[in-house]
Symmetry: C2
Subunit: 195 residues, 2 copies
Amino acid sequence: MARTQGSHSDITGPRVREAALTLFARHGYAAVSMRQIAGEVGVQAGALYNYTPDKQSLLFDLMKGHMDELLAAWATQPKTSNPLAALEQFTRFHIRFHSKRPEAVFISYMELRNLSPGNFTVVEKLRRTYEDALADILRAGVANGAFNVPEPKVAAMAVIAMLTGVNTWYREAGRLSLSEVEEIYWAMVRKSVTA
Amino acid sequence: MARTQGSHSDITGPRVREAALTLFARHGYAAVSMRQIAGEVGVQAGALYNYTPDKQSLLFDLMKGHMDELLAAWATQPKTSNPLAALEQFTRFHIRFHSKRPEAVFISYMELRNLSPGNFTVVEKLRRTYEDALADILRAGVANGAFNVPEPKVAAMAVIAMLTGVNTWYREAGRLSLSEVEEIYWAMVRKSVTA
DNA sequence: GATTGATTTGAACGCCTGTTCAGTTAAATC
DNA sequence: GATTTAACTGAACAGGCGTTCAAATCAATC
């Protein structure tokens, strides 16, 4: 036997995904060519096909990977039966998690239409799972009188849109720290749904 | 003299813009070819160049046109000195205006990175003007004690993100009417910023 | 009905696309 | 140092890209 499986592939594989992440986020999936990705990695275009069956899979893997990570991270958060505390936890978690992965977040929101129908269904289901986690918190708060929202699913969509919007303007080098942003948004979220 | 200026151009010109709007919104700017747009209009690709100098201008005109219309429509809204009333007006105006132009809204949020640097600057400035209109309302409310927001510009970004998010899920054929959606969002916006 | 010129066609331009694959390179094992 | 094979190259494939332009078309004017 000669070289054991993947001596360079351990390095090149992740680099392909990183380059795709960066370039897709910057220019958009359709505007980025396989040759551009290869160039960023320092390899010829043909070599990419050792690491992905095609360009579409590259996009899908990034998006599904992001949603899987999001749901996994949310699952590790300690659960509380107090809806107001749960909402605060969700708010802070969402802002912190998303602020650390701006490219993946950007891609996951912008490139949905470039997924093949089958891949879209998968990603959309994961997204709905996340939305429903928030909707459930709101429903629990309505049940115990802490919240006053006539349509928990709609309110969940509103809150998530508001929170994800942070990524459109927040910069680490900016005037406000992420903690300050967290406080501002948590105050708004709390007031928007409380009775 | 023969045919006066534009006997078909009166018809074809708008149809080119409509086709570009629909296709850019559905598939994204980079994924749509001039031949596709021409096909939708029922013409050969070369004919498009009677109506636009190039593909980039087609995108820019759609985005600038949308922002101009938005600001013009907002300018016709009756002004009030009461910040709470002004905020309600902004909220309902935003939801109604954006719900009527889902394709243009979609393009204006998704295709910013496909604008040339010069065109981006123009569109970005118009967008900032709109954001500042809301920030000014919030500042006035802070000044007279109606609102409690530590960072009016941040709060404006949060509110706009929340309101624009309606377009991601609202469908005319859905369970909720636009009036109902308006009420739900107005209640959330009002509570999120009031003292 | 001839004239005029705006409108459109259809072919061509050079270049880029995603993907494939025979052949080369080079690192790990014996 | 020979062998093995994963990793990569570089050329090729068929097709599409944005854009240009001479020639054809056709409706309005005279």
